[in-house]
Symmetry: C2
Amino acid sequence: MTIATAWIGVDWGTTNMRLWAIDAAGTVLAERQTGTGMAALHPRGYEPALLDAAADLLPARRRTPVLVCGMAGARQGWREAPYAPVPGPPCGLPPVSVLAADPRLDVRILPGLCQAAPAADVMRGEETQIAGLLARTPGFDGVACLPGTHTKWARLRAGRVEGFRTILTGELFGLLASQSVLRHSIGPGWDGAAHAAALATALAAPERVPGALFALRAESLLAGLDPAAARARLSGLLIGADLAAAADIWRGQPVAVIGAEPLAGLYAAALAQQEAAVRREDVGALTRAGLTAAYETLSGAEA
Amino acid sequence: MTIATAWIGVDWGTTNMRLWAIDAAGTVLAERQTGTGMAALHPRGYEPALLDAAADLLPARRRTPVLVCGMAGARQGWREAPYAPVPGPPCGLPPVSVLAADPRLDVRILPGLCQAAPAADVMRGEETQIAGLLARTPGFDGVACLPGTHTKWARLRAGRVEGFRTILTGELFGLLASQSVLRHSIGPGWDGAAHAAALATALAAPERVPGALFALRAESLLAGLDPAAARARLSGLLIGADLAAAADIWRGQPVAVIGAEPLAGLYAAALAQQEAAVRREDVGALTRAGLTAAYETLSGAEA
């Protein structure tokens, strides 16, 4: 059987690695995901991890381009890739080649983005999703919202990223829900009304959020607050604070919310409630579109 | 040798236990501190821990009153003590007796305080420091600020606690500095100017704090931010957010800052900068004064 893979696109994050094998016509031949993220790997572990996941997708006797975005390009990753500065295009620097031992591999890592002012900021991986958004919606003038462990808000105009801001919302939720005193009051389950009310309160008066956190614990002690409602309220307070901290970016703009349920849905609903024109985008589709754009640029440059 | 202890006062917190043996004239005969806080003890461990620390201070052949404030009265403590409601005096309910096996012990645990509205809140231990403040400064009309793992802000008037608010500032600092992505950028040391600037920024625009946290990481990656400055800035951002979250309580009021260096000094300096009339108070002295007031009430009631 002939292996028809023309190239492989990889989204190598902190906790997961996801790849697509794509043929010359742009068809996805295979999609795979593993738990071998940056956090689980030493620099020498990347090539074996890639081969474990994709050796059977590599044609023999030729080098297959493998385009990698995400944390594999971090200082503690496979090989450090630079950051392209903003304002600028989401993928404004050429990818960095990695020397692989296996002769079937031609690995390149895409640069991230950095911002010097008004505040220092960096991203790795999200720039490829933004490139995918701009590839699929040329001329998009608005904001990309990428909710997650580190939510990213990026202002896009004329094919460029004008600026962006990172907010540690997912990480803060995880620490507070599982490691702080609030953990005693938080359980599984969800309460949509409690979430929406807490989010609205936090967005209207974000300066009150630090004082509202301990109230979850106290209400649990004094009034038996439902652990599912406590969890939903904590999430609402933190997402409300996130939206408030980025309001100067998204207010009055069309917003593309890039992410999976349930988190991206919560952001999209809250933004719609604030009268933002919201569209939902799929992370995998945008990542693939961004990697494809990078592959096409590379092929064109080397043709 | 005769043991002259008339009674023992104990501040039994989450991580430490501190006690004073006091004679009939009110003189402190001994002061001891151990690491046997609530977190390290099962309910049956309290009496042995107390005897380990204080057996030699107990006169033979009579029961010595032992007055305990703090987390020993929590549900997971020695014995659950109630919460007295606010508005009300800081020690408005009688202490709860604990049955001790040792015939020399007459143990009583002081109730905490609870608030139902405008937001649920609780305290255990700080009410005794507040009682001490009011015992030493009768008629104090203003705010008690007790910085710590869980900072407490309490509005005091006419010998009563009108209301209070808990803010998880110390706990948040610990989680972010040691467990979040920021830990890679934070090191020992201090930068006073960086702290003051971050605090002022956070107090002026608290809604921006969630977006300012990740900038510490990014500035470390992009510009080699000094790890001591990163630590001082994180502290400044969180204390600024704390002051902003409690501004409706302290603004325009005299504030008694109750706590030890360096943390209480940072709060006091920031409040003074905001033109609050600030006085510093020693935790140990106020705790002892509060326990003494409770002991005198008890002695009077049983005389």
